[in-house]
Subunit: 388 residues, 2 copies
Amino acid sequence: MTLATRTQLISPFYVVEILGQVEKLEQQGVDVIRLFVGEPDFATPPAIIEAAKEALTHQSQGYVNSTGILELKQAIAERYQRWHGVSLDPNRVIITPGGSMALQLAFLATLNPGDEVLLPEPGYPCNKNLLHTVNAVGVPVYLEADQGMQLTLDALEKALTDKTKAVLIASPSNPLGSVMSKEQWQQVMQFCQQHSLQLIADEIYHGISFDGLAPSLLEVTQDGWVLQSFSKFYGMTGWRLGWLVAPENAVEACERIAQNLFLSSPVLAQQAALVGFQPEVEQLCFDRVAEIKRRRDFLMQTLPALGLNILANPDGAFYLYIDISAYSKDAKAFCADLLEKAGVAVTPGLDFGGPNPDSCIRLAYTVGIDRLQQAVDRIEHYLKTLTA
Amino acid sequence: MTLATRTQLISPFYVVEILGQVEKLEQQGVDVIRLFVGEPDFATPPAIIEAAKEALTHQSQGYVNSTGILELKQAIAERYQRWHGVSLDPNRVIITPGGSMALQLAFLATLNPGDEVLLPEPGYPCNKNLLHTVNAVGVPVYLEADQGMQLTLDALEKALTDKTKAVLIASPSNPLGSVMSKEQWQQVMQFCQQHSLQLIADEIYHGISFDGLAPSLLEVTQDGWVLQSFSKFYGMTGWRLGWLVAPENAVEACERIAQNLFLSSPVLAQQAALVGFQPEVEQLCFDRVAEIKRRRDFLMQTLPALGLNILANPDGAFYLYIDISAYSKDAKAFCADLLEKAGVAVTPGLDFGGPNPDSCIRLAYTVGIDRLQQAVDRIEHYLKTLTA
Ligand SMILES: Cc1ncc(COP(=O)(O)O)c(C=O)c1O
Ligand SMILES: Cc1ncc(COP(=O)(O)O)c(C=O)c1O
């Protein structure tokens, strides 16, 4: 019996191969510096852990409303006011099982089979695969190094067809770390309105930015789709909690989809996440962001000196996207070799698409500065062997 | 900007309306007996709560493998051996965020746009809506009262078209409570093989059955799809944890879909659910099933005497599907009236489809026997006012 066609379209991730190799080496006792995983090394804040324990003792763990606990929706809406000066109706906030399901929900609400979505690349590898689950198509829009990896309206325009239905932009970006300015959001939103396209903003790295808070799409429009997650800023990847802010006229449809797709988001996570909006907990997370910024600064000072060209301005998230063409045009082989010979694990560009995946790698700075120093030393030594 | 066409196809639930009315009445101080919710009234077993607290203290809450923690997959495989005498490769077990996502995963792996899935009705309301999310189509196969609401091969055969790709059967069934025998699974599987159809078994109420364990599709074939959940037997609805057993040749594709669709199932739930397989915890759950059986027996003795005809043999889950045609041919109005005049909340048949939704209601016996006695008294009194 044959499987669905989409099963042939959904590509595997190279990072999973890397993970396999890393685990094998570690089992052999090799010390590997893990710079390939897309999750912060900071654990869930103690206050959230404690709140979860309290909730386990005192609160029911039954189904709740498919769109989430009202109090949590209110806390989120209120944060948009505090962080972005935006007044948001809590009803537009739909709590989801991770940012992943927020993305899926936005796709399900907007896309018919065959519809095309413009995806700036390099970008998040799941996007085009997730689009296959709704039988839609991701159309890459290449970000070019000679334009600082900035998205241009020109590039969007060139990718338009009569099937284009939406544009999906992540800010801060994975793997670039680049951040959309308010003006850029404005321009893209205007472009989308001109061409009757939905604009979907993946803001799941929000909070983790180094030059003040990254502007939210909500600052420029009430008609866009914004997805968010507790995964990164709150170090809650395994809890599976995120949210979608939908345009007013789509909320009711999203609610119906949610009722069927996932019934309810993880309830304990919702009960616990509530304390994440308390000033002390937010402050703890911002202190962590300050530490992440120190790591970024350290790498920006050390890596270019090794002939490694950092693409874009990494002003958020915890990734550097690095041009290694001075050393290799086969990033996959480069990564495998760097891992084996130097014990440093990074991800080949192939996972992220874009114009030059074969000469790029992603480095996730999810280890402390001491360990990063060690990584830089190992990389330096390894690169010397290549040019020797 | 227009939304996706499927947003018009996904129907809302009447039970949500009922919930709204119930909450309004309760706010007015009215005592409502809640017999409309699809979740057990038993809380998560204390041992699982304790395990969760332990895990919060000692274990990481980061992403885990998209298909789940190996230990949990092994415990599940081992339970199929204990419960069903079936040897199962743990690799075929894919942990999911609730049975809902297991269903979605099976659909995504098997169905192309336009493919048809045969759905015995009355059945679980989400099925046909979920099928719209993958652009497939649910084709109802009516279960008839004069055949004891049993699925016949004849009825399946009549519904076949050249687009039919799969058959989805729930056992124990929601809303009927009926259970597929091993022979019935065998017959349907044979039918599916003859017609090159996938067979998907929704076994999420497994464990909650009153005449021994309900047979699993895995007892008759290795080529079917079986979905399960911690929601009902373990009283863990809000934790969002379930699993899919996929055919060997589909496991790798399911893994790729899971990596994109949900990344990881809730991790704390996985860590905690592990203790659910300990003999004492399983025993506690079976003791609860014994209590659920006593409730069923009580209702089977009292309701028919009121002229309420219980359809099918409710041998599992915690639902009765009741023919109210002696009193009304408008179940929606009947339910609203019963709620308002007698303070008993049940669900109109309309949510579940089938041949006679307008003369049927679903009663969920998720309250204790004392409270059920009260409900029966109230219903009796209410019915008398109708015939007076
Ligand atoms: C750009 C981007 N969007 C969405 C996600 C989904 O994350 P989650 O489902 O944990 O919220 C990720 C995870 O790495 C990501 O990098
Ligand atoms: C027949 C049936 N299948 C699947 C589900 C999904 O449940 P969950 O996602 O909580 O496992 C339900 C929930 O009520 C159900 O009744």
